[in-house]
């Protein structure tokens, strides 16, 4: 309900519209694990916001901080402009629907729903009215006396929603509430929740790892990975204009190709030039995202690129066809059939190509020197000395270095950045083969190779390009080509 006077007071409008605001939220657990890093978000009143990300990305931790079960290590949470990060959960006008429902097994359906109302000491008749209304809303009239254990998963879910909504919270938090339901039930509940949201006008904050669920229900999606926001936007934005390879890979099926801009709105990948809509400076390294449904199969001579069909899977509405073009594996979704082994041409329209600036093109590692002048990165195991990096430096005596002008240099204060390209690193499963060891924590397929993120035992994240497929959590050894390393000194 906006009146004209309110429209005039712009600043006022701003604070009124944002129901909750998270500022620079960081959460570090006692064991040192950083679950959420510098998280910022503003949620408008009445919005349906979804935190989307793989398990362990910090989405549930963020939700728990909004609910009040965890306190942020740093940062502020503002509810209607007031700081609430130190308020206990029972003092926040926020209610939660838990992942495993968390219904009280010692109470029946009625008492579960009435739990919050009874604590508020409302008169009995009013509690009765509200509980009945809540039961009606979730379509479970007549279940008042039932024991929780006698309800099915779907019914328990509805009771959990009713129990939270009956308190008329300002914000409803939902922590993967549909995760335990079967597919059909989940689809039904998705629509029901969406309807409830529209009808009640309460702000919903929803956590899920299911991208389809997020796309179906949300007004705004927050894609998270490793405790950080990757992209915030409407479902359409996130799907059509993913900001980086992670988002593109996580939301829906996609082909990601490493490429380069070769001209004005001209991009080269898979060995051919394509017209695109994104204006990026010529010569920039990019990642091109092409959704499988945006690729059309034609005869070989009509195609922009050609390839051989290597597999075809029937998926109900469409076929999923994999085409090998040179070294690139391309996934296509089409309603037309193809023959395995057949030579085909592929056409991609300009609006089917989304160009993203390539990230992670260079590994940059900060390091210093130890007293012997060796690079302290990896405890000097790299075997690189300051004398080979800083021209003209001489070692006068133990711990004392002199530059070409004869001035003393305190090498403990020198900082150096080591840069190495992802394709100058090889992976091996022989633990002794490389200088670094670590676990693969992320992998994205980029057409003709995989891009891996390896977290070393010393807690460095190193990006490695490799043609072979490794698995998540594989323990690998990294062989760094010392000749290809570049060193930049910082003073």
């Amino acid at each position: 309900m906006r009146t004209d006077t309110q429209k005039g007071e712009f600043a006022m409008q701003q604070t009124n519209d944002n129901i909750i605001e998270l500022r620079n939220i960081t959460k570090t657990f006692e064991d040192g694990f950083e679950a959420v890093k510098d998280f910022n978000l503003t949620v408008k009143r009445g919005e349906f916001v979804t935190f989307l990300g793989p398990s362990g990305c910090g989405k549930t931790t963020t939700l728990r901080m909004i609910a009040g079960f965890d306190t942020p290590s740093q940062g502020q949470i503002l509810l209607n402009g007031k700081e609430i990060e130190n308020l206990p959960p029972n003092k926040r006008p926020i209610n939660t629907v838990f992942q495993r429902y968390a219904l009280f097994p010692h109470l029946n359906v009625y008492d579960n729903i009435a739990f919050g109302l009874k604590l508020k000491k409302l008169p009995k008749s009013e509690i009765n009215k509200k509980v009945n209304k809540a039961l009606e809303m979730v379509d479970l009239e007549g279940f008042e006396e039932r024991k929780i254990a006698t309800l099915s998963g779907g019914q328990q879910q509805r009771i959990a929603i009713a129990r939270a909504l009956v308190n008329e919270p300002e914000i409803l938090l939902l922590d993967e509430p549909l995760g335990a339901l079967d597919l059909k039930m989940r689809k039904e509940m998705q629509l029901e929740l969406k309807n409830m949201h529209e009808k009640l006008g309460i702000t919903f904050i929803y956590v899920t790892h299911d991208q389809e669920e997020a796309l179906t229900m949300s007004d705004k999606i927050v894609v998270m990975s490793e405790g950080q926001t990757q992209q915030v936007g409407t479902p359409e934005d996130i799907y059509n204009e993913p900001k980086n390879a992670f988002v593109a890979d996580f939301i829906g099926e996609s082909n990601i190709f490493g490429g380069i801009m070769t001209g004005d709105k001209l991009v080269r990948f898979c060995g051919a030039d394509f017209k695109c809509l994104d204006e990026v400076e010529q010569g920039t390294m990019i990642d091109a995202v092409v959704r499988p449904e945006d690729i059309v199969i034609t005869e070989p001579q009509k195609g922009m690129i050609t390839g051989k069909v290597i597999s075809q899977v029937f998926k109900g509405v469409h076929y999923e066809i994999t085409v090998m073009s040179g070294k690139n594996e391309i996934v296509i979704q089409t309603t037309k059939k193809a023959k395995v082994g057949e030579q085909v041409g592929l056409v991609i329209e300009p609006d089917g190509i989304h160009v993203m600036l390539a990230e992670h093109t260079l590994n940059k590692i900060e390091s210093g020197f130890d007293t012997n002048g060796s690079l302290s990165f990896m405890d000097g195991r790299l075997g690189i000395n300051i004398t080979s990096i800083l021209p003209g430096i001489r070692k006068e005596e133990e711990g004392l270095y002199v530059d070409s002008h004869g001035d003393e240099i305190d090498i403990s204060k020198l900082k150096v950045t080591i840069s190495i390209r992802p394709n100058d690193i090889q992976m091996s499963d022989d633990k002794e083969a490389g200088q670094l060891q670590g676990h693969i924590i992320n992998l994205i397929y980029k057409g003709d190779h995989y891009s891996y993120v390896v977290r070393t035992v010393d807690d460095f994240d190193i990006i490695v390009d490799d043609e072979d497929l490794w698995n998540m959590d594989d323990f690998v050894s990294l062989i760094l080509d010392e000749q290809k390393m570049q060193f930049t000194l910082k003073k």
């Binding site: 206990p88 939660t96 219904l103 009280f104 097994p105 919050g116 929780i148």
Partner: protein, 266 residues
Amino acid sequence: MKEKGFRRDCLGIPYALFLVCFVAAPLLVILYYAFTNGQGQFTLQNLIGFFTSPNTVGTLVYSLAIAVATTLVCLLIGYPVAYLLARSKMKHKTVIVLLFVMPMWINFTLRITALKEVLTLLEGNLAFHPFLNTIIGMTYDFLPFMILPMYTTLLKLDGTLLEAAADLGATPFSVFWKVTIPLSMPGIVSGVVMVFLPSMTNYVVLDMLCNSTYIMGSLIGSYFSAYDWNNGSMIALVLLVIILVFTLYTNRYDTQETGRGGALLS
């Protein structure tokens, strides 16, 4: 297998024999003695005698009082301990649990004798406070039986339920009162049963601490050593019925609760 005529039921024979010899037969013997007189004739005199003699009724009331008091004290001490051990994030929890359980591994008589020395040191003469000393002795003896079942129940208590209660607006106190306590009921009930029943009949503590025979167990003993098997059996029978009623009542409550809990887990 089949031709040899082996059936699975045959495995039960040894147990059936055991039950007949050591449970059913002795019970029948007790029943026989309780309802006969010295000459082997049927009589209800023993039953009437039990409820008319001030000695037996007095002992029964005293035993009940001791059992109730011991159970209450154990509950009051045991619940906070079990709660702290199960719900707190402290390290070396198992060590502390072990410390509470460890006295059970030491010989019972030895423990009571040691306690007797300590109490004598504190009070001078144990005869001044027989009731108090009995409670102290029994609490010391039975506390682990109270703590353990409550500890296991509280350990299994789903933390998200407590969060859910807080989320719905409950203060820490009401979370405890409305969720933690009701959900730890199965543990409380088994703890109470495990303490109440033995403290009703255990006479060693009383005997050793106060040289008293003023409890049901020792009363039965004294009748039997005086060769009055009939009256002794009747006391035993009455006690059996009391315990049976108590167990049936608590059991019903117990299974009801765990039944709900179990269904929750599935």
